[in-house]
């Protein structure tokens, strides 16, 4: 989804400079607001409350600064001590699972994908927080319900998401004969073919890139109507729709820049910023890096939604960050108060602004944040929460869906076929076998 190192560095400078205003001037205001908020809040933190919070390790320095400011303001206003620890994407889930299992160590986790659904019985019911925020801020995007709710109960609050969308070079697209970026999969294939013919190729990861490869290949599968499992979690990957998506991706792959089977999450960032790659799927990090390191590329690039396929509706996959509170925490009220506090406009707007488009919101009212319109190239990332499915596709979110993503079941299916290791039937059979074991 991003080249983590470039991302952080670029935003350290670019982001911090432009947004220093938002982050620093608001520090005092933030505190004033926090005091007022704490007086009226419906959640009163327990006396002497201390919160251990685990979050994903930030990629955006300015975002982390803003996050820390929010934590400090909350501490000053309520007296609740917050101890924040960070873990990388890969390590966060095991650590949170162990905490859930042993019933100690952490009060809150700000995690990825389907984390609360791995142990729904260990999560505090936060329906009151979700209702409060939803009512105040224009309602939740549909995907928020999928990510946050288990049955009728909210077990997590989807705070933000990071989107994986099309990044393309405007001049190369025009040279390939397109005035605007194609909105359907057929047009997209034509564009990729033309780009290749012109020597300005596209490329997306087919290697074990947890972010990049999973997002675009799930889109490719879903856009053709193929799914790993149905609503009852029955494995249905062996379908004509899957077959079509395989053919489609192979046609794309044959017109890609060489080497995409080895790509990890940062490969496309490097190639795009250096000007060798002209179209890819990524977070906003490419643009942010290019703005600093290669202005010509930044000026000539833009973003677009993922094209719509035969399925006829957006079928994107983005990466949500959901906040959960463990039910063994001694301070559930303090944790709820903090969750609600984070998402109040006074905190949330400067925070999201500091992330330069890396974080997108789930609450509809935040569509109006100027970060999305100040630079029109960021605008598509505003809508990721409205357009995303969950990693489970049509199935239920839970540890099986999480395991299928972590084990690259879909990614390997496409890679097996595209690189010629298996024929289409073999690749599907392989994925089916793996999925049946996971979903048994």
């Amino acid at each position: 989804m991003s080249n983590f190192i470039q991302d952080r560095r670029s935003l350290l400078k670019g982001g911090a400079a432009t947004l220093a205003a938002a982050a620093t001037t608001s520090a005092d205001q933030l505190l004033n607001f926090a005091h007022a908020w704490a007086q009226t809040s419906q959640w009163k933190p327990e006396k002497g409350a201390k919160i251990n919070l685990l979050r994903w390790k930030r990629f955006v320095e300015a975002e982390d600064v803003a996050f820390t400011n929010i934590m400090q303001a909350f501490t000053k206003a309520t007296g609740v001590e917050i101890n924040v620890s960070n873990e990388s994407y890969d390590d966060l889930q095991p650590k949170a699972s162990v905490a859930a299992n042993t019933g100690q160590g952490l009060d809150m986790v700000w995690g990825l994908y389907s984390l609360p659904h791995l142990f729904p019985s260990k999560c505090v019911d936060v329906t009151d927080v979700a209702d409060y925020l939803g009512k105040k801020y224009g309602g939740w995007a549909p995907s928020a319900n999928a990510y946050g709710k288990s049955g009728n109960k909210w077990i997590g609050i989807p705070v933000a998401a990071t989107g994986g969308l099309i990044n393309y070079r405007i001049s190369s697209m025009e040279k390939a004969g397109f005035k605007e970026f194609p909105k359907d999969t057929a047009g997209f294939l034509e564009l990729v073919k033309a780009l290749n013919k012109n020597g300005t190729p596209a490329g997306m990861a087919l290697g074990h890139a947890s972010g990049d490869a999973n997002t675009w290949l799930h889109w490719a599968l879903w856009s053709h109507g193929g799914y790993l499992v149905d609503e009852k979690d029955k494995v249905i990957i062996n379908s004509p729709e899957t077959m079509k998506s395989l053919e489609y991706v192979k046609a794309l792959y044959e017109n890609f820049i060489p080497g995409t089977a080895s790509w990890n999450d940062s490969s496309n960032n490097k190639a795009f910023v250096s000007g060798q790659l002209h179209c890819t799927v990524n977070g906003i990090s490419v643009y942010v890096t290019a703005s600093r390191e290669n202005k010509a590329v930044a000026e000539d690039m833009n973003h677009a939604y993922m094209p719509i396929g035969p399925a006829g509706k957006p079928t994107e996959l983005h990466l949500p960050f959901t906040m959960l509170v463990f039910n063994f925490s001694k301070y559930p009220q303090a944790c709820k108060a903090l969750t609600a506090f984070m998402l109040e406009a006074e905190q949330f707007n400067p925070w999201v602004t500091s992330a330069s488009g890396y974080l997108s919101h789930f609450l509809n009212a935040y569509d109006n944040n100027p970060v999305w319109t100040a630079d029109p190239k960021r605008t598509p990332y505003r809508d990721v929460a409205k357009r995303t499915l969950t990693p489970a596709g049509r199935g239920t979110l839970g540890e099986n869906a999480a395991a299928a993503i972590a084990d690259f079941v879909i990614v390997d299916m496409f890679a097996n076929y595209c690189t010629g290791r298996e024929d289409a039937k073999g690749a599907i059979a392989f994925a089916e076998r793996q999925a049946k074991r996971l979903y048994r």
């Binding site: 095991p94 290697g207 074990h208 060489p258 080497g259 089977a261 250096s274 790659l277 972590a406």
Partner: protein
């Protein structure tokens, strides 16, 4: 451990009660002295190993306990193409890399054993690949093998030898060769320096005598150096094979097992399935499946090379 052989003398203990006899029994006291070491080994080696093997018979996942499922994990792996691919990759990786490391290491050791200016500095410099943290050297190799920015592809293109970048990590065969080369680069110094240490224990008078008898260079190597070096070769190659077989960092940093599992080793597959995907039981089964291979490797070098009769004071056949 040898303390067990020492018998308390019966003469002293005659006429004493059982408890008193126990108190002056040297074996009894020795057992107590061994206890800290034994506890240490059991706690940090035997227990984790046993736990891992036990987990491989359960369907445990990270964060929640599992039930005993017998050989179910192994049955699944037996029919799993990716697992067998990883076994093949691991064997290929280990055999090819170890063989080349041995040949290059021995050659380098023989060179370094000669007298030359700046001997100490050159010997120290050889160790550099071994000193650099694996992850750092892996990242350097990752750039060297990059599909767009590879220095090798760039040079060859500018020399007009190739038209397109070499797909180092994107093509199965290239990827396997690339990771093996990276492993060799990293492993040769260990073999070379250890063999060099062995070479320096060979008495020069043997070579002098052989030279007087008219032995050629090859004969001196074959009949003096090599036999005297066998014990250290056995040790070095055992370690080298073990390190290579269980390699993880290099593969993980370079390919994460890709392209399409062509470079997945058993260790990386075990990590992917056990930790990332959360199925500890299956991950443990893959890790446990490595044990027979490792035991076999140790046996071969132990019985094949180290237990030569001459080492036990007899003549070679």
């Amino acid at each position: 451990m040898t303390a067990i052989d020492i018998k308390a003398t019966p003469r002293v203990s005659a006429g004493l009660g059982a408890w008193q006899r126990l108190m002056i029994n040297r074996n009894w006291i020795a057992a107590w002295f061994m206890l800290p070491a034994a506890a240490f080994l059991i706690l940090f080696l035997a227990y984790p190993l046993g736990l891992g093997i036990w987990m491989s018979f359960t369907d445990i996942r990270i964060g929640r306990g599992g039930a005993f499922v017998g050989l179910e994990n192994y049955e699944w792996l037996y029919e799993d193409g990716v697992f067998w691919l990883s076994v093949f990759n691991t064997l290929l990786y280990t055999l090819v890399a170890s063989a080349i490391k041995f040949v290059l290491g021995l050659y380098l050791a023989l060179l370094l054993n000669r007298h030359m200016p700046f001997k100490a500095m050159i010997r120290a410099a050889v160790l550099i690949p071994f000193i650099v943290p694996t992850v750092l050297s892996a990242i350097a190799f990752w750039w060297i093998y990059d599909s767009q920015f590879s220095i090798i592809s760039w040079s060859l293109r500018h020399m007009g030898l190739i038209k397109q970048n070499i797909n180092f990590l994107g093509d199965s065969d290239w990827a396997r060769a690339s990771v093996i080369i990276a492993n060799i680069w990293r492993g040769v110094p260990f073999v070379a320096i250890t063999l060099l240490a062995g070479l320096q224990t060979v008495s020069p008078s043997l070579y002098e005598a052989a030279t007087l008898d008219g032995a050629t260079n090859w004969q001196r190597f074959r009949f003096i150096t090599y036999p005297l070096l066998t014990p250290i070769i056995a040790v070095v190659m055992t370690f080298s094979v073990l390190f290579t077989f269980t390699d993880f960092q290099l593969i993980w940093a370079l390919t994460r097992g890709g392209p399409v599992n062509a470079t997945h080793l058993m260790a990386t597959l075990s990590y992917q399935r056990g930790i990332l995907s959360g199925r500890l039981g299956e991950g443990a089964a893959i890790a446990t499946a490595m044990i027979p291979f490792l035991v076999a490797a140790i046996m071969i070098s132990w019985f094949g090379m180290q237990r030569r009769k001459w080492q036990q004071g007899e003549n070679n056949d």
